[in-house]
């Protein structure tokens, strides 16, 4: 066994590495999509009116906006109301506002979108339609960079899938190679087993068990390393970023089971490929 412990260790480490790399991408997606959906939920489109829009025009405008597809709700915020809100928000520095001769804020509509239509294209589309209403001076939907951010996430996702696939394939070949080395080092033993009447199945079963154990150990070690890394990274992240709004989370036990099962499958597949070749040859 001693001779094989090095190649076994290499297999376990490779499987563990591919689990770590693939899983950390998955972990990243899970948490970023949490953040994104949270931010998207908070997306409010603000439409600011020109100062000379008469008050009686407001209900009509409100209806026009409400009539646009994908708008869930439109709330009118008068300039006075906006000023009060601002005052409240600037309690400590409210003296700054007292020096103002007149309220500088415009009337505005706060537009809430239907949850299902909150893709970036649709948000942009809606914003430009509202912008085209002549009484609207400016449309703001903040977090414009979020759109870019979700593109980047998309790219990450793709490279994550690719890397994950690449590493899984590499693991399969490394396990296959390990099994081949083990088979090679035990070829005399296998030949003897054949000569005394052992069936292919009898000879192969221990190798399959070994492959499955390699896969399981790799999976478990990978998940443990990932968990430790996750805990140390999240405890170092400034709580301010994530405060209360949401919690960074690790995999659910179901996802962990899937990851473990996949790494066992990789171990089994490596074994299968190698045994198929060897038994044909002998």
């Amino acid at each position: 066994m001693g001779k094989n412990s090095f190649v076994n260790a290499v297999s376990i480490i490779t499987i563990a590495l591919s689990v770590i790399i693939t899983s950390s991408f998955i972990l990243f997606f899970i948490n970023t999509s949490d953040v994104l959906s949270l931010w998207k939920k908070g997306v409010r489109i603000m439409a600011y009116l020109y100062k000379d829009v008469p008050a009686e025009k407001i209900p009509e405008l409100q209806n026009t906006i409400k009539g646009i597809y994908s708008v869930e709700d439109v709330r009118f915020i008068s300039r006075e109301e906006a000023f009060d809100i601002l005052k409240q928000q600037m309690k400590r520095q409210s003296s700054l506002l007292e020096n103002l001769r007149e309220n500088p804020l415009p009337d505005a509509f706060e537009i809430k979108m239907i949850a299902s239509s909150q893709t970036w294209e649709k948000i942009e589309n809606l914003a430009s339609r509202i912008q085209s209403i002549p009484q609207i001076e400016e449309v703001e939907y903040g977090q414009r960079w979020l759109a870019r951010f979700s593109h980047i996430i998309g790219l990450f996702k793709l490279s994550g899938y690719l890397l994950g696939m690449l590493f899984s394939v590499a693991s399969v070949f490394i396990v296959a190679n390990t099994v081949r080395l083990v088979l090679y080092s035990r070829r005399d033993e296998i030949e003897i087993m054949r000569l005394v009447g052992a069936s292919d199945r009898f000879i192969k079963i221990p190798f399959y068990i070994e492959g499955i154990i390699l896969g399981a150990l790799g999976g478990i070690i990978g998940l443990i390393v990932l968990f430790i890394t996750f805990v140390s990274v999240t405890s170092n992240i400034d709580q301010g970023i994530t405060s209360g709004a949401f919690q960074l989370r690790f995999f659910s036990s179901a996802v962990m089971a899937i990851i473990l099962f996949s790494s066992i499958f990789v171990g089994w597949l490596g074994c299968f490929l190698s045994l198929k070749q060897i038994t044909k040859a002998v």
Partner: protein, 227 residues
């Protein structure tokens, strides 16, 4: 079917074995009967080992038909080869013991491979090791044993599965005279108990002491008498 057919255990009809353009065996016709003790002898390179290999399908015949205990070897499927080999106990000059397994495990392997239950494996392996006088060393590893002891373990392994045929390829070839005598005695004993034994050897003393039928091979052909 006459009496001869019923008693026939191994038959070879016009068997050839070639390696590329070189032939190791030419037109071998041979019949071995149940409970026979047969020697195959001849100089080195005469094809003795090759002939034995053909019987347990260590190698396939290039031409001709071989029937072993009713099984036609040219038609046997890959999955049935283990079943053939369980009918044959093989003893090699170099013992072919598994060094990472103990004496007991080496013998038990044959029975485990045949799917025998653990309680039977324990009992049977113990009893064959007792029969060859290796019971005391059943927990030793082969490399700690002398050549004679290793060969006795190999014999225990060969007979553990109660094979119909025992094939021995130069079983005394690498042993001193005393160990060779012990091995000869054991093979004779298993023959008396009912096994068919085929021994490939060039050990004339072994043949003289055992007194079975002798087949002479020379340059891959059967000779009727020593040349």
């Amino acid at each position: 079917m006459n009496d001869n057919d019923e008693n026939s255990l191994i038959r070879m009809f016009h068997v050839y074995r070639r390696y590329g353009s070189k032939a190791a065996l030419f037109d071998i016709n041979l019949e071995v009967f149940k409970n026979e003790f047969v020697f195959i002898t001849g100089p080195s390179g005469a094809g003795k080992s090759t002939l034995l290999k053909l019987l347990y399908l260590g190698e396939p015949a290039s031409e001709g038909q071989i029937v072993v205990d009713g099984i036609n070897l040219s038609r046997i499927s890959r999955s049935r080869i283990p079943l053939l080999r369980r009918k044959i106990g093989i003893i090699f000059q170099d013992f072919k013991l598994i060094h990472s397994k103990t004496v007991f495990e080496n013998v038990a392997l044959v029975l485990e491979a045949a799917g025998k239950p653990q309680t039977f494996v324990k009992k049977k392996a113990g009893s064959v090791l007792r029969a060859v006088g290796m019971e005391d060393k059943q927990n030793s590893f082969p490399l700690y044993l002398s050549g004679g002891e290793q060969q006795r373990v190999a014999i225990a392994r060969a007979v553990a599965g109660d094979p119909t045929i025992i094939l021995a390829d130069e079983p005394t070839g690498s042993l001193d005279a005393e160990s060779a005598d012990q091995i000869t005695g054991l093979l004779k004993e298993f023959h008396i108990r009912g096994s068919t034994v085929i021994v490939a050897t060039h050990d004339k003393e072994f043949i003289r002491k055992s007194g079975g039928r002798t087949i002479y091979l020379k340059q891959g052909r059967i000779n009727t008498s020593p040349a």
